[in-house]
């Protein structure tokens, strides 16, 4: 009797967690899939957001994520290389590691404030897609460093020793041996980080996102629309909230599909790497 009780509690908890995911996906997809059409993803909003599509929000999110990548990947990978390949067990290394751990725990809204103070005001970038992309880049940095370092750790030391013994410098070893070998793992981490960045809203609130722009974002100093922010505005700030509810569901579906696509690509790289090892 007791045995069954225990069994039910453990299995039930796990089922409940799965049920949460099921409810989220089912609710959003059952109400949002019917809104989805070629029109919806290829047209800008019309008639004060009550009709039309979400094209500028999609391109805005893609552009934003692209800027985030350009900024955070080189810095993040270089920092991980330093930590795993060069740094010994010194006080400096411990301080760097401590900083990274703390950075990853800072609430995203505080990154938003920092982006506002640093990029928008001090660097005079204004509220723009560049300022928002850089802010998201800072937010992504600790995740990219951590996942890249994990990937570098899995490269066997013997590979490094072999090239070093042949008289190749350490940088050449890293460039030609270590990084190529760790590439699938690094890509997995980068893509997972980007999928988080694409869904973030708080850091871009004050750094450049706009509810509506006329046309498209074509320059780095312009404001932009983004999928998560669009969803937020549609379901909380719009004048006729009930009327635009289907559009909100449609936006949520597009956002979740985008994020899951990135996750599936990351799964693929991880799978490929496991079969390779």
């Amino acid at each position: 009797m007791r045995k069954w009780f225990n069994w039910i509690i453990l299995t039930g908890s796990t089922l409940l967690v799965c049920l949460f995911l099921g409810i989220i996906i089912f609710d959003i997809f059952s109400k949002g899939l019917s809104v989805l059409s070629w029109q919806f993803i290829s047209k800008p909003p019309e008639a004060a957001m009550t009709k039309g599509g979400i094209l500028p929000a999609i391109t805005g999110t893609l552009l934003l994520t692209f800027i985030t990548t350009l900024f955070s990947v080189p810095f993040g990978v270089a920092c991980a290389v330093y930590l795993n390949e060069y740094a010994g067990n010194s006080i400096l290394t411990n301080v760097i590691r401590g900083s990274i751990r703390n950075l990853s725990g800072i609430p995203s809204i505080i990154y938003g404030l920092f982006g506002l103070a640093l990029f928008v005001q001090t660097f005079r970038l204004g509220t723009s897609v560049l300022a928002a992309g850089l802010t998201l880049g800072l937010l992504s940095l600790p995740y990219i460093i951590t996942t890249t370092e994990e990937a570098l750790k899995r490269v066997p030391a013997s590979m490094r020793e072999a090239t070093l013994a042949m008289g190749i410098t350490q940088f050449e070893t890293i460039r030609d041996v270590v990084l190529p070998k760790a590439l699938p793992g690094i890509l997995t981490g980068i893509i997972l980080t980007l999928s988080r960045a694409a869904g973030e809203t708080a850091p871009i609130l004050f750094t450049g996102v706009a509810f509506y722009i006329n046309g498209m974002t074509t320059a780095l100093d312009q404001e932009f629309m983004a999928l998560p922010y669009h969803l937020y505005m549609l379901c909380t700030q719009h004048q006729s909230i009930e009327e635009v509810r289907p559009l909100a569901y449609g936006t949520a579906v597009v956002l979740i599909i985008l994020v899951f696509l990135l996750n599936i690509i990351a799964f693929y790289f991880r799978f490929k790497q496991r079969t390779q090892d």
């Binding site: 007791r2 045995k3 225990n6 453990l10 299995t11 908890s13 796990t14 967690v17 799965c18 949460f20 995911l21 989220i24 609710d27 959003i28 810095f75 270089a78 920092c79 290389v81 330093y82 390949e85 740094a87 400096l92 290394t93 760097i96 900083s99 990274i100 751990r101 703390n102 950075l103 725990g105 800072i106 609430p107 995203s108 505080i110 938003g112 404030l113 920092f114 460093i145 410098t169 350490q170 940088f171 050449e172 997972l192 988080r196 694409a198 869904g199 809203t201 708080a202 998560p228 922010y229 969803l231 937020y232 509810r245 949520a252 956002l255 979740i256 994020v259 899951f260 996750n263 799964f267």
Partner: protein
């Protein structure tokens, strides 16, 4: 390329790599000083004692209503509620994953948990408005379901992946010999789990709970959308509330640059920063103790 040139490049690249490491320290220091500097400007206008002891946050209508207390209590309340749901659920699920589930089931459940972690916070907040809110309103017979309970449920869902993943690692890391010793003494599977494995994994479980709590305290969009936005001292889970993060998100877009109100938002951010920093440090300490214990 000559060897001298190659060595020079090698030396240069080492510097480049090292400087990116230093950049992370600069970033943390930058965030800290940005908050400190702007908070100081605030405390020149409003004495800290009013900030920490008053009972009203109402900068729009009253000149000196800058008290963090209602926001802090709201933040604490919603985070506490989320942990009351997520901690038992998360640890039991982690125990199921590492002790009961066969390998194939694990291979299915782990991606499920990762997918749950991948869902953007706005999408969860959206469901708070369309699904959880009306549900709460119907069950409790109240007009509006946008309250602390709603926020707690959503934050629980959001912190579950963190709690499950870290707890599972902690339980999984307990040496097999512990279990074998317990079973050899005649304890059954459940006694072994509850009296040996889980107590041995305590430091890791505490780390899991604290990191989940850190996530819940710092979350912005879900609580902004689902908790009703009332910056008053809450008296229970069915009250509408407004957390520190939601207050920053709403008011920063509207305040004039470099006013008392503007600086006040940095001051409440600084308090939030210190709280999450403390929680993460303690969580990290607990995780390290687990590592030492296993070594």
């Amino acid at each position: 390329m000559g060897i001298r040139k190659r060595e020079r490049i090698d030396w240069l690249m080492k510097l480049v790599f090292k400087s990116t490491g230093l950049l992370t320290i600069a970033l943390l220091a930058g965030i800290f000083f940005m908050l400190l500097y702007n908070s100081m400007s605030f405390f020149f206008d409003v004495p800290p004692i009013d900030f920490f002891t008053g009972s009203q946050w109402d900068p729009d209508n009253s000149k000196n209503a800058y008290s963090i207390l209602p926001l802090l209590v709201s933040t604490g309340l919603v985070a506490l509620g989320s942990m009351m749901i997520a901690v038992p659920l998360g640890i039991l699920s982690a125990a199921f994953l590492s002790e009961l589930a066969p390998g194939k089931l694990q291979a299915v459940l782990k991606p499920v948990i990762e997918m749950l972690a991948a869902i953007p916070s706005v999408a969860i907040g959206f469901l708070g408005i369309t699904l959880v809110g009306p549900g709460i309103a119907r069950i409790f017979g109240i007009e509006n379901g946008l309250n602390a309970l709603n926020g707690s449920i959503l934050l629980a869902v959001m912190s579950l992946p963190t709690i499950i993943t870290i707890s599972e690692d902690a339980i999984h890391a307990i040496p097999k010999s512990y279990r074998e010793a317990s079973l050899a003494l005649g304890a059954n599977q459940w006694q072994t789990l509850y009296r040996v494995v889980i107590p041995a994994a305590y430091p890791g479980l505490i780390a899991a709970v604290l990191l989940g709590l850190g996530r819940a305290l710092g979350e912005t969009m879900t609580v902004l959308m689902a908790t009703g936005n009332t910056a008053e001292m809450p008296s229970g889970f069915l009250d509408s509330i407004r957390t520190i993060t939601a207050t920053i998100a709403i008011e920063m877009g509207e305040v004039p640059y470099r006013t008392t109100h503007y600086f006040a938002l940095f001051a409440i951010a600084a308090v939030l920063f210190l709280i999450t920093l403390l929680i993460n440090l303690v969580g990290e300490y607990a995780a390290n103790r687990l590592r030492k214990f296993q070594a």
